[in-house]
Symmetry: C2
Subunit: 598 residues, 2 copies
């Protein structure tokens, strides 16, 4: 049976020491996020993840969700009780404004909580995760009346939420959408069509399900500029705002998937369901896109979450499993064999995952902090810079952390040998669950294209230039510090590769846009190496400063941190060179083959 320990010490190091979020205590929400409060909240979140959610992870996978002839869906044993506890404890309300019953705490802190929840039970975490996304969309775009009607009960967990975008013939290309909305005399719309991949579209854990639905109002223009956003509750609200008449959408079936079996992935059939327009007509896709940074950051954290829990279990196994002898000489002569953690190749796997997890965690929090600053800072310049960084780094966080998180789950599985291939050990579930994060919320190829085609050129490259300046400034500030050399030199080299790649893209992507497309995934991963390397630089600098103060309690933690960062700098960040070579190759060869030749 797999286990999980929330990495609270590491979260606190990042939040309090590296990012020092206390310095923002003049901003709304941050004033309450004192180090003591943060520690207390993470402690409680860790407990819930370890004791309530993790024990349900396997049953969620093996039992899955069940669709019934009456179109209802039953979630796995224990999920409803866990959901109630999660909701009652207020986890669904943590980062939301107090006026809707939220706790108003920073999204940065919420990022840590979401990692724990997802490591413990990714399929479970998606239910409140979707609700949070839908609530955030309503808060940003809905009328005051709509917000008052729906948001408080969504934050309390009494009602849950969904996002209905995909249709059988359109996922990435939402301009092809066919679901239609017919205006009624009373100002409502009748929505008809089929939506697929609707996570938590139907289930038995909440009293109502608030569907956000993209549809085309009859007569709207073709393409993405004719799509509107609607709110369509499973039960229409009665005069008192309570669930009343059943609305006209049903779950037609559940998808049979590779993983995240505990989550109900629904085919939703809309048959003249009553919907209420959210925001302006024909501006629905734009409205959804505003929410996308947060949603994609959340998916990036899912990638980290599976990498972390898989790593932890592989490390436990590597300490316990005895097999063979150390090639540098027997380490445990009194045992019949040495534990496999003595083998360098096992260490390589563990350190690869660990050096990623710790920096991906920092990057996720750092990006969430940019989101907080972009919303909460009282300084226009800070808000704009933070918004630029959040937008720029979102595809990197989503694409790189889910790609690498999956790779690490696979690596961790390998440590178990044959045992890792069985259901019994639970580690293969991490691989199957992690796989979806590379696909949904914009497949990673789309993230790469978003980075190269949209985020880079946006506003004359303002965001990327500011980012290079930020990382460059960090390198300059530490370049004369000998202890920082093992971190700064490799980071500077990778930054230089990224800048070269960016210049190449500017020059060659304009001449032939296929060159940008051909470079996009490598560019995203090269960007990721710099972003993770930047985090390692910051963490190393902080660790060295703290060590210099002679704090004995955290000495071992800090020294391990420095070693782990060194591993990243020695073995991982040098991959930047290969990415650069690939980028500079261009599109010609890959576009030359006839489509029929494949």
């Amino acid at each position: 049976m797999p286990t999980y320990r929330a990495p609270i010490e590491d979260s606190l190091f990042i939040l309090n020491d590296v990012l020092n979020i206390a310095r923002y205590n003049n901003l709304p929400g941050f004033e309450d996020a004192t180090p003591d409060t943060v520690e207390a909240i993470l402690g409680e979140a860790g407990k819930m993840a370890e004791e309530v959610l993790q024990p349900l992870n396997e049953v969620g996978d093996t039992q899955g969700c069940t669709w019934h002839e009456d179109h209802t869906v039953t979630t796995p044993n224990g999920f409803k009780e866990a959901y109630d506890l999660y909701s009652e404890s207020g986890w669904g309300a943590l980062p939301f404004p107090e006026e809707y019953g939220g706790q108003g705490l920073p999204a940065t802190l919420n990022a840590a909580v979401q990692e724990y929840v997802s490591s413990a039970n990714m399929a479970f975490g998606m239910y409140p995760g979707l609700t949070a996304g839908a609530a955030a969309a309503l808060i940003t775009h809905a009328s005051d009346e709509q917000k008052a009607a729906y948001v408080p009960k969504m934050l309390s967990g009494e009602w849950s939420g969904t996002m209905n975008l995909t249709e059988p013939h359109c996922g990435t290309d939402l301009g092809l959408m066919r679901t239609k909305a017919v205006p009624q005399d009373d100002g409502t719309y009748k929505i008809s069509g089929q939506k697929i991949w609707i996570s938590a579209g139907e289930h038995d854990m909440s009293n109502n399900i608030i569907h956000l639905v993209l549809a085309r109002i009859e007569g709207a223009p073709e393409g993405v500029d004719g799509i509107s956003l609607f709110v369509a509750p499973k039960y229409l609200l009665d005069g008192d705002g309570n669930p009343g008449e059943r609305n006209g959408m049903t779950c037609g079936s559940l998808e049979h998937k590779m993983g995240i079996n505990g989550n109900a992935t629904c085919v939703m059939n809309y048959d003249e369901a009553t919907g209420f327009l959210v925001g302006t007509e024909h501006r629905g896709l734009k409205a959804m896109f505003v929410m996308m940074n947060e949603a994609r950051l959340g998916v990036g954290i899912q990638g980290l979450s599976q990498s972390e829990v898989a790593y932890q279990n592989a490390a436990d196994w590597a300490r316990e499993r005895v097999q063979g002898r150390s090639i540098s000489g027997t380490k445990f002569p009194d045992q019949k064999a040495d534990p496999i953690i003595v083998h360098p190749d096992i260490r390589r796997v563990l350190m690869t995952a660990r050096s990623f997890n710790e920096s991906a965690r920092a990057l996720a929090y750092w990006t969430a902090l940019q989101g907080d600053l972009s919303h909460r800072s009282d300084d226009d310049e800070v808000r704009q810079a933070a918004d630029d960084f959040m937008g720029l780094l979102t595809p990197v966080v989503k694409g790189v952390i889910t790609d690498t998180g999956f790779d690490n789950a696979v690596r961790a599985q390998q440590v178990f040998g044959g045992t890792g291939y069985t259901k019994e050990q639970g580690v293969e579930q991490f691989v199957r669950d992690a796989r979806i994060a590379m696909i949904y919320e914009g497949a990673n190829g789309i993230q790469a294209l978003d980075l190269v085609g949209r985020k880079l050129p946006s506003k004359g490259g303002r965001a990327v230039q500011a980012y290079f300046k930020e990382v460059g400034k960090f390198c300059s500030a530490h370049k004369d510090n000998d202890e920082m050399k093992p971190y700064i030199e490799p980071l500077s080299k990778a930054l230089s590769d990224l800048q070269t790649a960016t210049m190449w893209l500017v020059q060659n992507g304009m001449a032939n846009p296929d060159n940008a497309g051909a470079a996009s995934t490598d560019y995203m991963h090269l960007f990721g190496l710099v972003a993770l390397g930047h985090m390692w630089g910051m963490m190393a600098a902080t660790a060295q400063e703290k060590l210099a103060t002679g704090d004995e309690g955290s000495k071992q933690f800090l020294e391990n941190k420095l070693l782990t960062g060194k591993f990243f700098m020695e073995r991982i960040i040098p991959e930047s060179a290969t990415h650069l070579v690939r980028i500079q190759t261009g599109a010609d060869t890959m576009m030359a083959l006839d489509a029929e030749a494949f």
Copy 2:
């Protein structure tokens, strides 16, 4: 529903044009392998794979095998009929000596057949695959009487075979083995103990199951030098050599696995089962190791097989699925969107898999040819050189082709977007099935250690030096040919990286063996890049020669071949530089953390 087309044209190009196996027509078995015969055999094999085995792949996965209270195991619907057809058609006898009812054909040709079988239905292919392995072990090590008793009926498929090595507490480290064999007065042994992961250990497709079992004879020395090999049939043979009395081993349960559900992976309980010693006592592990090259080559081919079938289905999907517009301008204005194969990032994925598949296929055949030459050549020097190459390349073929084959299955799944995550499309099965090949028959970390710790230093580095000479000679021979420059320059660079890495290993692995362990996986993959690059060099040279003859029929095929090889040289082989950097980093950082710190 996934489809499969056996890549016969490509197999023929490699066998006839690149390797030109006709030149060995003076050797036993090769005299029958004329181009016409080869084409006829591959045509039939392709038909069987496409029409009989592939349609059973999904049912094998969803239905799996069923264990019954009476310890019998039922295979999925249709498997028995397919097995009978496979056996009756003689596929199980193809590469075996005629004296046992084999067809005596080259293992090189059999490699092609095995790829098709495994692409179509990897779980099915394991049943005859294990039989072949067990038969080969008997042919090499058993007494004439034993061979006569078992081998012909195994080759005909009437009986099947297994290999029983692993126990719950020992997989990699077989020296820890506990299964015991107690000598009886009649010269037989009573075998008792538990074996796990026994593929095809119990099933309903053959009349008898011939188990090869490793066990420790009572009183034998501890460790690997006290292990003996036994043959223990499910039904003991009666006086006429027919299955008689039931022997004392039973299947206690089936493993629940991530994939290859169509194969019965058994826990086998031996309770005083009668076994017959094969070969010399205490030399059992050595006997098994002799068979390991062939078995590992077979697993490498499984990696290729899933990469190929996943690639084919992704290419089909990419041609059919319309979504978005080409970034270099609309390609199909009369459709609502362009097929996704217009997108460079989709091409990148397809070309990455394709450029690997074609060279991995060549490398698998080339390595199988070395095996053939090592057994069949009449020239001592040729036999020795071929045996050296086979031994050296085996861990590379097994480790690199299964690692990369799995990665390609994952990449292919990504092309499908959300659809690829559902069971319905079948592509996620390729990922789950491919995963096991990285683990069994020696986990890939063990392959890397075998390469670095055993194969490299063997006989003063004779094999690796000969290999460098072989590749170097090829580069020299073509270096003045301008058309070959795009292939030779990158290959020469990678070869130089590999030579540098080898020198580093010699110098630093002796000083501290952990340095060799820390380098091993990167070294194996660096070696793989050179080996695949060498194949691309050979294929490019052959394609250019054939094109120069003006053969119009294969012009398109050959030009596509050259383009695909160019992609490999531009985008894949440059990874060698990162591997070299990693290797030269050494073991210090990864070994520094306390085991408890992970």
